[in-house]
Amino acid sequence: MHIKVFLLKLFCLKKACMSVAASLILIWFFAESSLPASKLFETKILSKKLGGANLPYRGVRPMGMGNVFAAISDDLDAFYYNPAGIAAARKLRISLQPIRFIPTQDFYDELKELDQLVDDIEAINESPKPLEDPDLEDERRRLTQRMKRLIDDDLGLDVASPLRFVVPFHVGDYAVAIGGIAHAWSASQLYVQRRGLDWNDFVKDILDDDLIYDIMAEVSYGGAAAIEVPATTLPLEVSFGLAARRIHRWQMTDRDDPLGIEELINPYGKDGIEGTADDFKERYFDPEDPLAIVSEARGYSIDAGTISWFREIASLGLAFRNVFGKIGDEKLPRGLEVSTALNPARLRKQGLQNLDIILAASSNNETWGSGNIVDRARFGVEVVWNLPSLAISGRAGSNYGYMTLGAGIQLAFLDFDYAFYSDKDVDWHAFSLNLTF
């Protein structure tokens, strides 16, 4: 009896290890591949005018574990990470996320003085002689100090409120799920882009620096469908999913024509003539009505994905982003993510007592062909302690070499998550409260 159990465990372990090893080899192959990403999938930077923020939608739980989720996708963030994941739903689920707030670390300090910044720009902009006007000395000094601070800061804010649902049912032997999604989302960034000589004197230093702003808001709605197909000869279940969204996006950005100190102190442009095309108000925004120049575009995106599960122990996910998609006249960048996950706690027949440990790794086509494996792949771990009507999670990860941490508490229908998420540019603190029924 003991020998049989032992052999069964050994068999399961061997299968799981083979499955994960195969997945890891696949990730390694893609990550280490010297084939440029563009050869496999068209990768195009979004139009700066319409998609400059270029921030993909991120869930707070995945962010805590290195943003590796395409092979896990066991909650309704699957709509964004891998639509095949919704096939795993076993009952009707409705999820409302009234709070999803992802600011950068520097955001809080600067937010309270944002009005002051706009007021100072407005005052300087209204004066025909902004450099000479002695009444504007305070505004000029404040603006200089602000720019000095912004050089070390990265201000970003990513807020959204998604509403999602999924309805599972069966068609013959196949498990099928359909779902819907609607969200309002805004992602904004403000930072100083340094240019020119590295002067010790800050005033000289900022004369050619640029203040980049990128403010994006979108409303989107759509649906997803997935089907789970059991493999007949292998202990595998394979899901295929498709998600489509209609997108309505608003954006204002100066990425194409960065706003520098030079432009601020020349309110009527180089020609010094008011009312011409190079006036600050024409090129950038009217400080009295900054939202008047917001550009607006509509579009769509279609994502596809597949996940292969080996029992509940291991999985391999492939997510195809923006297989078809464009906003306005601009195509959305296509992407492929290869991901794998392993839950070693399920290797034991009984599982580890009340514990789930999910190890995951992924790589996407944008990173292939450069750097080492850490530069090309993401890694994540989630440890979940399941108690009666309560689950506590701890997460950690490596986002292309940058650390991420996270924690979550799930109490009945309430799910609170926090993540600290680093990328090559900034650190983010992410919070979300999810109501799932």
């Binding site: 450099l131 020119g196 002067w199 004197d201 005033v203 000289k204 004369l207 580890l352 007592q353 680093s422």
Partner: protein, 279 residues
Amino acid sequence: MPMKDIIHKSCLLLSLMLFFSSGCYEREDPVVASGSTLEADNAIKEVEAKLEAMGLSLSFEEPGDLILPEKLIPDPSVLADEINQKDFEEIIGQLNIVLTELEQEGPNSPLGSVSDMALVHLYLGLVYVFDAMSRLQISDDPAETFIIERYTPDEPWYNVGVSPATKAELDAVQDPLDYPLVFTPKERQAIIDATDLIDDAIVRPRAPEIEPRLSSVDRPPYSKYAIWHFQKAASLFGQYKPDVKDALDDLNESLDDMRSEIQARSESWGFTYTLPPWR
């Protein structure tokens, strides 16, 4: 929970923590911003450090100071201290390196920004004048020969004259050709060099036998002169902010007044003052 499980889980968690803490990158700001090079950044840092050490801080307190370039001009007494002449030479050499780097062809040629190039020319113009004034003031050790001061507290530039004792000596000389002999060879060299630095002028004692007769700064790194750099700065600032150009044009006009004054003085001290043929 059995002890074996606890040990198992603890080991697993510990190894996971070690794994994820080992691969974490530190974010680093780019060493060199676009529109500059490492050589240019290093050279400008060296320039600013040297000027600071000499008590010549050319800093702006706020952007409005751009239209008050005269605030950058120090009291002449600062230039009378025991300044190491080699430092000015090195500063000019470093600024020339910065300029060469910024003027190189780039994707948006030239590589450097208009404001940076304008500021480097402004620095060069100022340092040429500082070097000239400094040469005059430290050449007359131990006796005081040259008096350099502002015409009025509001004037940006300097009035270059001689001390009452030197004036008396000049008045006592019968033959105007012998006027330069009132000055020591070192002082005569300082007059020749200072005018060369400011105006690229060829200044020599009128009497052919009086030495020295050649400028000691007619060599690298002194490839240009103060007025040329100020004019370049004004022209570049004109592309950046027309008001700043106007302010620099005013400064250049008063510098030209000072140059005329020096020309008149040097001629009255027995020197010829000739502009080179290329000017």
